[in-house]
């Protein structure tokens, strides 16, 4: 029989306000095996933990039940406390009477009754707990970064500077990401390329960093400390070792009609291309769908003009398999598709553009060489209208329910830059709210209004109507003056909502990392573990976790790096001891468990068993506890009931069911 201590936490008033905690403690004493019960204000505090440790010593406790918050919150805390008092940490169970009880029920009697039942279930389980010992697994001292934007680059640099190997996998032909498409950055107005390209160079020159561009993660297996990843290096059709980056092939390429991804389709690029002049690596790729040689078999001009002989039409995709200890997701974002926002005439007029397209228009390397001009007729605009929250903070299913966070600031930036460079252009901004929390952010916005005379109108735009003369009629409302506004504009800029990169779903599934309804990756804890995924060994960097600006992204990238370094710095990891085990006398070697195991952790051995005096050699299932992740699929599949899961055994779960249904 166990000697169980039950500790009921008030959690200040979080639990005590709706659950009669002393009643729960009192009822606990009536449960089998319980020799000690008490309640305390904050069980997780030092004093609370000391109470548990004292009781372990004084009452010689062999099992602990803490009735408190979710085990996802403090199970580890209480296990460590018990361990310090000499108790096996796996003899601790949590009854979740906060998230699953006090916070969702209002009636004290009801909530107390439920808390008592949850306590009983936990006591019933602990009565069957056995001490468990974690195994050890090794750590591959190399990190994988998925995504080569500013988030991925910063994380890679920080990890590499700490002395660990880092591989960056980037889908496009160059690292740099969204930031490389930006012209200037708020609130300092420094040039994006000037602060990004040195980092790109640093990453590519770093002896610890290996960059796979034009590559995608194809398969991930393994677990924290020991992931095995297949990377598909797409055929570049250019030999990276031979290419000198002279650019002649791009000049001479006769196929120049492919829309430039880098310039958001505002102009065209050649079939053999680098996305932008500062691309890293400075090695072009052949877009096989646009290339005449690949389409018709004739052409081959690039091969003829290439002095280095780097063009290789025969090149094939290559799969690289590599081991990693930690994986950082830095897949970034894209702007949403505007098909559902027909009222803004985005698809009807070339002069209605997104803010990211305006970045390209304003950029010296962009389609207009940095001149602000209408994309329809090349004329300089006189009236510009910016529309905020296009698809952000949207209550219907056309857009996104969240605030994209960066739009208020970049619109103020655009407005300011335009007014600065072209003082004769009038700029009007339609907004719902102006949100500028951040260091020097509100000052920046006020400068746009006060110094640069940008006209801010609180209200939404109902419709943008292209006129026969090429102008755009903007119908909006002014909520403060309570009037309708009709405004003729030469250009309309839409602050389009951002969304996580569409590929992130596929990647999250590969990594078994959680994702929310907006496709942002979920953190292990929204406040306390914001850069870790609930899946051990997976870390989050940048907008894949939620909307962020550049400084926040860089800060989070550093934080993700520190978490990854903390993991890579360990030589060994303790593995979860809640693994499957087979009862040798019940197992009949049927192979059912092997078939359902997703980790290949089960093998079969011929072993001699002593079955009630009969000695014979039988084929038996053997679980490799280093590979077993403890899902329990085999325990249910086993037709003879031989397979059981430590820590969540059949008897333990049935004891909980019984306690609840009692």
């Amino acid at each position: 029989m166990q000697r169980i201590g039950v500790f009921v936490c008030h959690c200040g008033s979080n639990i005590a306000a709706t659950v009669d905690v002393s009643k729960v403690a009192e009822m606990a004493l009536m449960e089998p095996g319980v020799v000690h019960a008490e309640d305390y204000q904050y069980m997780c505090s030092e004093a609370g933990q000391a109470k548990i440790q004292d009781a372990i010593h004084e009452k010689k406790l062999s099992g602990i039940v803490v009735c408190s918050c979710s085990p996802r919150m403090h199970e580890a805390t209480f296990r460590k406390a018990a361990e310090r008092a000499g108790l096996n940490p796996y003899m601790v169970e949590i009854a979740n009477i906060r998230e699953h009880c006090s916070w969702i029920h209002k009636d004290m009697e009801e909530a107390t009754k439920k808390a008592v039942i949850l306590m009983r279930a936990a006591v019933a389980k602990v009565n069957l707990n056995t001490p468990l010992k974690p195994g050890e697994s090794r750590v591959t001292k190399r990190a994988l970064i998925i995504g080569g934007g500013i988030a991925g680059i910063q994380t890679a640099l920080d990890i590499a500077d700490a002395g660990y190997e880092v591989d960056i996998v980037e889908k496009t032909p160059s690292i740099g990401g969204r930031m490389s498409q930006l012209d200037k950055t708020f609130p300092t107005l420094d040039c994006s390329a000037c602060i990004l390209t040195p980092k790109m160079v640093e990453a590519s020159a770093h002896e610890k960093i290996k960059i796979y561009t034009y590559s995608e993660v194809e398969k991930v297996s393994g677990f924290v400390g020991d992931f095995t990843v297949d990377i598909r290096k797409k055929a570049r059709s250019v030999d990276m070792d031979k290419c000198t980056g002279c650019g002649v092939c791009q000049e001479k390429c006769p196929s120049k009609k492919a829309p430039s991804e880098f310039n958001r389709g505002l102009n065209n690029r050649s079939a053999i291309y680098t996305p932008f002049a500062q691309a890293i690596p400075n090695v072009p790729v052949i877009d096989r769908e646009a290339c005449i040689k690949f389409k018709t078999g004739k052409c081959g001009i690039c091969s003829k003009v290439c002095q280095a002989g780097a063009i290789d039409y025969e090149q094939k995709d290559e799969i690289i398999t590599e081991k990693y200890g930690a994986i950082v997701v830095a897949t970034g974002f894209d702007t949403i598709n505007l098909d559902k926002y027909d009222e803004y005439a985005y698809s009807q007029s070339k002069d209605v553009i997104t803010s990211l397209e305006l970045e390209r228009v304003m950029n010296a390397a962009g389609p207009t060489h940095g001149h602000l001009e209408r994309l329809s007729d090349g004329k300089a605009p006189k009236e510009m209208v910016f529309i905020q929250c296009v698809g952000s903070r949207c209550s219907d299913d056309r857009g996104k329910p969240y605030c994209s966070k960066i739009c208020c600031m970049y619109t103020a930036k655009h407005a300011m830059l335009i007014r600065d460079k072209y003082p004769d252009v009038n700029v009007t901004v339609f907004y719902i709210d102006v949100r500028t929390p951040g260091k020097n952010f509100d000052e920046f916005y006020r400068r746009a209004v006060e110094q640069y005379g940008v006209n801010y109108i609180k209200g939404q735009v109902g419709k943008v109507i292209p006129q026969p003369d090429g102008k755009l009629l903007v119908q909006g409302s002014d909520l403060l003056d309570n009037k309708q506004i009709l405004k003729e504009a030469d250009m309309v800029v839409l602050a389009t909502a951002i969304e996580p990169n569409p590929d992130v779903r596929k990647i999250a599934t590969m990594l078994t990392a959680s994702i929310d309804t907006n496709n942002f990756l979920t953190e292990a804890h929204a406040k306390l573990r914001p850069v870790e995924s609930p899946t051990a060994g997976i870390f989050l960097s940048g907008v894949c976790q939620g909307p962020k600006d550049i400084p926040e992204t860089v800060a989070q990238a550093g934080a993700a790096a520190v978490k990854a370094i903390g993991l890579l710095a360990k030589d060994k990891l303790l593995t979860n001891p809640c693994t499957a085990h087979s009862d040798e006398l019940l197992c009949n070697g049927c192979s059912t468990c092997e078939n359902v195991c997703p980790y290949g952790a089960i093998t079969y051995e011929d072993k001699e068993v002593n079955d009630h005096g009969i000695r014979e050699v039988r084929r038996l299932a053997v679980v490799n506890s280093a590979l077993c992740q403890g899902c329990g699929a085999c325990t249910v599949a086993c037709p003879s009931g031989a397979m059981d899961l430590q820590g969540f055994s059949n008897r333990q779960i049935i004891a909980e069911v019984d306690a609840i249904c009692r």
Binding site: R72, A121, T512, P598, T635, I653, C661
Partner: protein, 146 residues
């Protein structure tokens, strides 16, 4: 009339996987999204850990409803666990129906860690359903009660 005021208080067992649904229930809690206290959650590592035996046991011991929640198909922490769970439960529920436990008393629902609202909505609708079915008397003999 709210469910809380009715005299019949069903016993409902919810099996929740540690990675998605249990976390979803935690989110429902921290967002203060209420559902009836009749629901008691048992944490399992994965929905594939839920042995049909546990569900039979619950009904044998007097449960009026059993619900199993896991990660959305394709999002299982262990890659494929919820697919096994889905097949097992489909089979089990059809057999339970055959022996007298109506289909409405059993349910499988996929709730992610970010779906606190869905968790609370699911539990509210499930409890509502159990109320409409009333007490699970049809396994009374199995429980050897008078």
């Amino acid at each position: 009339m709210s469910i809380e005021n009715k005299s019949f208080r069903p016993k409902i067992v919810a099996f929740c996987c540690n990675w998605c649904s249990y976390a979803g229930a935690d989110l429902a809690g921290s967002s203060r999204l209420s559902y009836p206290a009749d629901v008691k959650i048992i944490r399992v590592p994965c929905s594939c850990r839920v042995n049909p035996m546990f569900i039979l046991r619950a009904f044998e011991k007097g449960a009026d409803g059993v619900i199993m929640c896991g990660c959305h198909p394709g999002d299982c922490h262990y890659s494929t666990g919820n697919y096994y769970a889905r097949r097992r439960m489909t089979l089990l529920f059809s057999m339970l129906d055959y022996i007298g436990v109506e289909n409405g008393r059993t349910r499988v629902e996929w709730v992610s860690a970010a779906e606190g609202v869905k968790f609370s909505d699911t539990m509210n609708s499930f409890v509502e359903k159990i109320h409409s079915l009333g007490e699970n008397v049809r396994l009374g003999d199995l429980r050897c009660r008078n």
